[in-house]
Symmetry: C2
Subunit: 218 residues, 2 copies
Amino acid sequence: MPKLPNEGQCREALLARAIADAIRQYLAQVDYANIPVGVSVRHIHLSKEDLARLFGPGYQLTPTVELMPGQYATKETLILVGPKGIIQNARVLGPPRSRTQVEISRTDGFVLGINPPVRDSGDIQGSPGLILVGPRGAVTLSEGVILASRHMHLDPQWAATLGIKDGDRVRVRTNGARPVVYENVLARVSPDFWTQMHVDTDEANAAGLSSGDQVKFL
Amino acid sequence: MPKLPNEGQCREALLARAIADAIRQYLAQVDYANIPVGVSVRHIHLSKEDLARLFGPGYQLTPTVELMPGQYATKETLILVGPKGIIQNARVLGPPRSRTQVEISRTDGFVLGINPPVRDSGDIQGSPGLILVGPRGAVTLSEGVILASRHMHLDPQWAATLGIKDGDRVRVRTNGARPVVYENVLARVSPDFWTQMHVDTDEANAAGLSSGDQVKFL
């Protein structure tokens, strides 16, 4: 029969376990409080109709990088034409959506000569349009160009650890070269999400952030 | 002998004065807590030697707009040439300084192919260089390109009203379309300053700010 530990050894083991648990909890907390950043460069979501007009009937997008489950960058790009200038090589994202939407930065807006509002994705009513030029045709949008409102995607487990519910507004501090605090950041929770805070290139450049950096949940 | 006001009239007058004082105080408070924003677009401070090399011996800059007492924009511009791209029409500011310094945005850095550090003005050691091209010559800088650290200029009366001393670090919230909080903003106090918070174009575009907007002192 193996020798049982004495009382002192038991106490030591329990203490060691308590310390290990505390460290594990602490580390888990630190991890979850730091949200990875994804920088959204200008991009286009196309409707099926506009995809056909720009790339030809029956054209299929070619996925390259998965950005979120079921959402991907493609090898396809378009030329954006505004009243004051053009931007080449603007990336098309997939899959196609019900309506065409173009997300640019305010800096891009100055180049193109348009002044889009800050909006959540999908909310394009009354936004300015522009001309999209592809290899097989051009499309004139009367609206659909926005500056994407910064927001946070959370998977349900991550959100639960932080005590965040879908639709909550949260506060975060960036950790780049020029830290800023964002207040009122919309948190969206879904099993279809990877946990990531999305900012545009102006926000990233202002804060000195790159994709893979982190913002700290306050 | 003029008729003295009766007690009721006196009370009314005193009340009116108290209300007027309260409104004045309130307005003064609101004014001073709101700092006007100046957006710094990319620009160049030239040494006298580099001014002569780029524009010719004995050349004098032509002031256009006074930016701070004794500091001005000029009609002169230069071409910035980096390893990956060029930027035309970069504004020269005056008067000349002891060393040439180029202040750009991180967005400009991507266009040019250089990655300057965030620095206070004058602190250029170890920063990247670039090539300046003017109408009469070119200058190759081995260093001198920075992203200007955001900061606040305060005239002494304004600073005293807010209880701020030269060198203090302050917190402000922007009031643009995408408000952010800046912490640790260096406050500089001098009779040579107009009260203004300086941000670069990336910071302005990220926060939806334009010159003349305000940040609120927290």
